[in-house]
Amino acid sequence: MIKLTDVHKSFGAQKVLNGLNLEIPEGMITAIIGPSGEGKSVLLKHIIGLLQPDSGRIEVDGESILGLRRSQLNRIREKFGMLFQNAALFDSMNVFENVAFPLQEKTKLTRDEIHRRVLTALEDVGLKNVEDKFPDELSGGMKKRVGLARAVVLNPKIILFDEPTTGLDPVIKRAIHHLIRETHTKFGYTAVIVSHEIPEIFDIAQNVAMLYKGEILQHGTPDEIQASSHPVVRQFISGSLDGPIHLG
C-alpha cells in the first residue's frame, strides 16, 4: 500500500501540494483525476521519490521513502515501473534495447532468456516486428505501448502511469486502456493512473481520487465519484464551463 500523509510541496511561490492525504490500496487500479496543472504528475513523482516533499510523509509498503540514501531509495524503486507521459524511451536505443535495458541491468538472465522476455512483453502490448525501430520512427501510441512493455517487463509490484493516453486518438486510447486492464489482470500489480480521460477512466479504475488545489477532494469507487454532489467534482466530470473551476 502507498500512503501519503499531509504532503506539502511548493515550487517557489507556487503551492502545488497542500496537505495532501491519500491511501492507494494494493493490487488495485487507482486513478488520480483533476484539472490540468493541479500537480497530478508532481504527486506521481513524489510517490517514486523523483521529487521530495517540503513536509509530510510518504510510505510504500509501510516504509518511509523520505530522507533515504540513494541505495535505500533504489531498493524501494525496484518495486516500481513507470510509464511516462511521453513514454521517455531512450532515443539512442531501438525498441528491443529499450525493453531489454531493465532486464540487462537488473537481472542475471541469459541473452536468450532476455530475448524471449522482451518479445513476450512486446507481444503483450500488441507490438510485433518493431524491435529494430528507433523511438523517433514510432507513432505516439506505439511509443506508449513500448513504454508499457518496458514498465511491465520486470514484473513490478506497482506501476505508475502518467497520462498514458494523452494526445492519442480514441481507438488507440481504448487500446491502451484495454492493455492496462489486461496486464493488470495478468500480473496483478498496483496501478496508479494519472488521467484526464473522463468518463473512460471510470471503466478501468477501481478507485478514483480527485485532486484539486493541492488536496484530495474526494476519493472513492468510480460510482461514488460519478454520483458525487460536490460542485467541483460535478463540473470536472461534466466538463462544464460554469462552476467553481476557473480556466487559467
Binding site: R75, R77, F84, Q85, A88, D91, E105
Partner: protein, 256 residues
C-alpha cells in the same frame, strides 16, 4: 537602495549556490568514477565520440597553428639571426601551451556542446527520470563514461596536435622559408625535455575533466524546453572555454 542591496544579495546567494552545486557534481562524479566507472563499452563509445570524431578538426587546427607559428617565429627569430631555433620555438609553444589549450577548446566546441545538448534533451524528455525510476544511477550510465573518456581522449588528441603542429611549422619554416631541416629538429630535440611533455599531458588531462564536468553539469541541470537546452549549451561552451584558460594559467604557474 534597499532594492539594489537585495538584488546584489540574491545574485550573490544564487552564485554561491550554483558554485556549491557544481562542486558537489564534480565530487560525486569523481566518487562514482572511483567506484563504478561505467562499462568499457560505454567508455569506448564515448572515446570514439569525444576523441576519434574530433580528429579531423584537431588535424586542421594543429596544422595551421604550427604553420602560423613557423611563419611568425621565423620572422621574429630572423631579426636576431636565430632562425635555427625555429624548431625549438614551435615545439615548446605547442607542447607546453598551444597543444593542450587549443585541442581542449576545439573539443569543447565540438564535443562539449554535444554532451550538454545530449544530456539536456534526456533531461527534458524525462529519460534521466526513467533511469532513476528503474533504480539505476544516471551518473553510472551518462556521466562517468564521459568523464573517463574525456580524460583519456584529451591527452591523446593533444599529442596528435603537437606532432601535427610541429610538422606544420616544419612545412613553413623548412620547406617554404628555407630553414635548415637538421637544425629544426636537432634544436628541438635538444631543448624539449620530458617535463615539458608531461606538463602538457597533465594540462590536457585536467582540461578533459573540465570539458566533461561543465558539459555534463550544464546538461544535467538544463532548464525547460528547447530554449533551456539551447541556453545550457551556450553557457557550457562559454564557461568551459573560460575555465580552461583560467585553469591553464594556474596550472602553468605550478608546473613551470
Amino acid at each position: 537602495m534597499s532594492v539594489l542591496i537585495q538584488s546584489i544579495g540574491r545574485h550573490t546567494l544564487s552564485f554561491v549556490q550554483e558554485l556549491g552545486r557544481m562542486g558537489g557534481f564534480l565530487l560525486y562524479s569523481c566518487y562514482m568514477i572511483a567506484r563504478r566507472p561505467g562499462s568499457p563499452i560505454h567508455i569506448l563509445k564515448q572515446i570514439q565520440f569525444i576523441g576519434a570524431k574530433s580528429l579531423f578538426v584537431i588535424f586542421l587546427t594543429a596544422a595551421f597553428t604550427g604553420m602560423v607559428l613557423g611563419l611568425q617565429g621565423y620572422y621574429s627569430l630572423a631579426k636576431f639571426g636565430s632562425e635555427g631555433m625555429l624548431g625549438t620555438a614551435v615545439a615548446l609553444s605547442l607542447i607546453r601551451e598551444l597543444g593542450p589549450v587549443l585541442s581542449a577548446l576545439m573539443v569543447t566546441g565540438r564535443a562539449g556542446s554535444a554532451i550538454t545538448a545530449e544530456i539536456g534533451i534526456m533531461r527534458i524528455t524525462e529519460q534521466i527520470d526513467a533511469l532513476e525510476t528503474m533504480a539505476l544511477d544516471p551518473f553510472k550510465y551518462l556521466i562517468t563514461p564521459k568523464f573517463v573518456a574525456a580524460m583519456l581522449a584529451l591527452p591523446l588528441l593533444c599529442a596528435i596536435f603537437d606532432v601535427v603542429g610541429i610538422y606544420g611549422g616544419w612545412l613553413v619554416g623548412v620547406k617554404l622559408l628555407g630553414v635548415n631541416p637538421g637544425a629544426y629538429f636537432y634544436e628541438m630535440e635538444k631543448s624539449v625535455v620530458w617535463r615539458d611533455v608531461y606538463s602538457g599531458m597533465i594540462k590536457s588531462f585536467s582540461f578533459g575533466m573540465i570539458v566533461a564536468w561543465i558539459g555534463c553539469y550544464k546538461g544535467y541541470f538544463s532548464g525547460h524546453g528547447a530554449e533551456g537546452v539551447s541556453r545550457a549549451t551556450t553557457e557550457s561552451v562559454v564557461l568551459t572555454s573560460v575555465l580552461i584558460l583560467v585553469w591553464d594559467y594556474f596550472l602553468t604557474s605550478i608546473l613551470l
